[in-house]
Symmetry: D2
């Protein structure tokens, strides 16, 4: 039986790249570059194959997937002729997209959650799926103020039945996914599943979840480089970063409130690895002319022997959706297998994929990789 | 009993920084930044303390150490007033420097080696040292042609008694050190100890050795970054590097023959980590205006999901002697302890410190660090 | 007769470097690197020689100049032994420093201005100077709200006699300088002399003035590079900049209000040269570990033929005080000569030195240089 | 009457981009980005319009232009659908391409030159053109050894009638073009027209010529930036450059002999602008994965006031053909008009477009632009 992938933000750039790419891999039109779980170390883990994944999702946007894929081809995110070659897959997935939730007078959040969960269970049944993994790849939300009902499942369940918004959309999707018995992945820095009440729900439902904020660029490099300074006893004194992002993600994050979520997430790794706070700011700027590309420039000052000051800089020029998409496939395969094997609650061993790993203090990329590999062996 | 450090190239920038810095640490004038073995993980390994190290060495240059330290202070490599504050230590070390070997009619290499070994044993006895570690920090030599006597100790011993040069200077120093019963470290890419006949000698003498070519800049970063691409299944397509070096090291390496030794050493890591050859050249330019500083610019192209092309660049601006000096102290402490514990022959676990680790295929920095830490625990 | 240089912020890094450097040039201890007016094209302009400049100034700080120069030597801004060699010059200048104005109950601003002006005229008379140029090199102030008295000299004169602050400190210094019959230079983005009432005063007094915000780093490069894009008809689509500054200047500009003055000043050049607004933000971060150094990273996207997207990046790593100091000497020499030749009011031809040139719309560096050279010929 | 453009290397990337782009401009499908002569300052110069240009040329390659344009579209050099939209123009130009000269037994060079000239005059007559401009955009050749016949037209004419090669291919094309009465442009660093005998021929024939080696990337930036250092009296001490080139051009220049031509050309500008030689090497590496893109990294060290060392770096990431193509159109328009106005021999005022301008010592980009603008006014 196949595994379903339910994407929240199913018509966004990341989701479109995921669906287009999975179709290309299935058709033998592309090699699985960027797919961690296609490497030798994961062959024995019993992961569901990419070719068996079935796609659907929620979105508030209406542009059909074949059209979105064409746009990405023009932008150079997917090969020029690929959308045409996998058109049928795109249409099939598009037929499984249901309207997302929007703010405004639409009943209680409990009612909304029931509708969302019904969409997902309908998909699972209609397509005869063994299980469905829900992945949140929609726009980043601002941080939300704490609410008493966030800490306790009973209180939350009750509060949702009353008028007014208790949960931000990302958490409402997570709530619905868990209610529907689905594994859940937070791919963005939005609040999502990271509330005690939702952890309680996941464990009650016997479903695993993971997050948050996929590590695809500046932070990826940071967590590969910072251990070098630490292991060599070089004293990092400042680490400054500027991120230039085009596209919709750039526009969202240029909003100071949403950008704040991202910055909090990005700034966690460094003190964790170096063992002390480090001077320096992180900027996120929207530069629309960059399109789907992003550029990060990081500037690091450090001291060596006898206090001599030295400097390192790096520039990372990547395509955001192309960096993110294979990680979605990896996470789906891994967490679906974990679900199958009976894991419930947070899966800290998936921290390798995230800027702000739920349940894991380890930020060093290579150590996260070792943890992931070891855990994958237990799935066999 | 104290441990001696015999530096081949004892009046060079690296050696002067080592001796000045050790004196500063002893006097409490500086923190041990850059000293790997001063980190918590090495506290139980029974390493000889830095404050007990006693310095001497060979050099063909005559400028006294206090003068050399003043020059380094003017260049910003050591703090402005430090040479004055540790003048006595510098003078003591300078009194233990003996003339190195120079090409020309000076008897057989066997005679030269005996004189070199006598210098070292004289130092050990005069200063009442438990043991002496010899570290080669002299200028890089060109690669040498193979010679039949390099492969066998008996043949080598015989050949050295005949007129003519069988060994390059770096290997003659290594031969003398081993004959004198000293542990040996190859800090440069010169041939040094890396000949089968010398390995045989080290094992016969019961002394450990390690090398070669300390990893202090571009290659250090390379071996921290390349695993990131490998673990994320990103396909590195090219890796190009330009190294701008001032100072004497820059001038030496600007000579194509010596530069060749360095390039061979630098180019080993990448295919080892990525598992396939990678397009791209490595340049080493002499830029005298950089003084003791070096700048490396690396440009990497890689493919992500569906073949999308992306780019990473980094610039590393470091002070060569300041990066090298603490590693000399680390290596001395570790190999002295290994000697004490009876290790003989190559110590592959010291690969963390080298571009071209003798006896070790592992080039990933973090994995080398894990190996080093595990080995250090066995020294306790 | 000699020319006096009265520095507002006389114990700051820029002023200390100016005074130390002028002494070094006088004593033949340094070449005039960075001094535009020491180049051949200015030999005929009749400028006062650097060796004849006499220094004094206002400051609210009390650390004596010889001590400040030692600090700069430790930081590598001036050569290590220079402060000692020019100690007498530093002490002489320090003896001519008078307390600056501080906020709080100190009488009316008119009274303060009279005291400031008396300090300057006392200096001129005591030292028998032909004329004095006042240069504002104190910390950047936030932008100030408009005040009706700023637009008219009579109204201003009257308002200053009343309690309360009508002028920010930078403008009060400018007012006092003009009242004292001195030429005036605004070296920072603070309001300073750039008020209609002060322009009226300068013309009434027959003294020249120039400003503002010396162009020493990122903006200098911007105004050299942007004409390349314009002349080649390449369409610049975004220009993003991050400035990392250590030292006191960095701390001041990290304050959003003061940083705003600087950003406004920095952002003027680009639309002026390209003829259209350009996407992109400019960040100014304080990174204390950089000390007196600053690093700017600029990232430019542009379109070429048929809309192909291309990118340029640059990194500028400079020593702020060393970049600023020779320009202070240049401006003093040029405006002193202009004063001698009877120029009154703004001198737009000095725009070459400024980010936000008063009275000049031209921002292209080379065109500004041509204007400066042509004007210098008229001074002969 | 229209103007013809005869491209030597007519099926190369630059030529294909020129022809595709001119068709796009003619059809109103693109704006003239990168076209210097479409800017306001050139409106009065009486230049032939781009829409009236007619294309043909020589090439030794056989791939038809529509196919070449498709390849460039896939590589992102021209917009994805453009080749299809201008297919008719591409086919028309392709029909005017004749075989180039190849080494080997093909009669004397005089015979070859007559055939080449006949191809061009045939084109001119067949298409009823007022005049034809020949532009050399074929692969870079190695420098050629001097030959006595290069210095004198009579000697050259005689030598060409004998068996054996007197001229490199680039010069043979130039010879043929001049014999055919055509203006000539050397777009590459090959020897081409830059021989005294060919200058004599051009003047005898009354045709203008210009060259050489179009300034499109690293050197363009160099000649915009170096004047900044000179005008500010900052002492440039080193300037190092690494150029990574993909595509056919990269492969050609990776050959040390051809790369030498390019380096000689690239290294001329700096000493010319700064007035003194500067330390530093220029590398040209072939990185096939870059495709039609090139990346240049330049590292500059300079001294400021009191000898303080500072650094600037830049990275230029451009599409070679897209940078070159509009300059071909500019040069054709300008030299065609010069031909019409009776100019004969070298046109030094076109130096703005070249790394190694024939007949011009001025390398500063802005000064070259001023010369170009002034000269264009004389064409009116």
């Amino acid at each position: 039986m196949d595994v379903g992938v339910w994407l929240v933000g199913a018509r966004g750039s990341v989701a479109t790249t995921v669906i287009t790419g999975a179709a290309a891999l299935r058709a033998g039109l592309a090699a699985p570059i960027g797919c961690v779980t296609e490497q030798p170390g994961f062959a024995e883990a019993g992961l569901p194959p990419i070719r068996g994944l079935v796609f659907g999702g929620h979105d508030i946007a209406g542009t059909p997937l074949p059209k979105r894929a064409e746009e990405l081809a023009l932008a150079g995110v997917v090969p020029a002729r690929l959308p045409e070659l996998v058109r049928q897959d795109l249409e099939e997935a598009d037929a499984e997209i249901r309207p997302g939730v929007t703010p405004g007078p639409a009943g209680t959040q409990a009612e909304q959650a029931r509708r969302l969960a019904d969409d997902i269970t309908g998909f699972r049944e209609r397509r005869g799926l063994a299980r469905v993994v829900v992945v949140h790849v929609a726009s980043t939300e601002p941080p939300v103020p704490a609410h008493p009902a966030h800490g306790d499942l009973a209180a939350l369940t009750e509060a949702l039945e009353r008028p007014g918004d208790v949960l931000p959309p990302s958490s409402l999707y997570a709530y619905a996914a868990l209610r529907a018995g689905c594994a859940y992945v937070d791919f963005t820095p939005s609040t999502g599943v990271s509330l005690p009440a939702l952890d309680e729900l996941a464990r009650a439902q016997g479903v695993p979840y993971a997050g948050r904020d996929a590590k695809t660029g500046e932070t990826l490099v940071k967590t590969a480089l910072a251990p070098m300074f630490a292991d060599r006893a070089l004293a990092v004194r400042s680490w400054s970063g500027t991120n230039l992002l085009g596209g919709g993600d750039g526009a969202t994050l240029a909003d100071p409130a949403a950008g704040e979520s991202k910055k909090i997430s990005k700034d966690r790794a460094l003190p964790g690895i170096l063992g002390h706070p480090v001077e320096g700011q992180t900027h996120i700027d929207h530069v629309s002319h960059l399109g789907d590309w992003k550029t990060a420039w990081d500037h690091i000052t450090f001291e060596g022997f006898l206090g001599v000051r030295m400097t390192m800089q790096f520039t990372w020029q990547g395509c955001d959706s192309a960096l993110a998409a294979p990680l979605v496939l990896d996470l789906v395969r891994l967490i679906a297998r974990a679900h199958e094997r009976g894991h419930a609650g947070a899966v800290p061993e998936l921290g390798f994929f995230f800027k702000d790993p739920i349940g894991q203090e380890e930020h060093r990329l290579h150590a996260q990789y070792d943890l992931l590999r070891a855990w994958a062996r237990t799935l066999a």
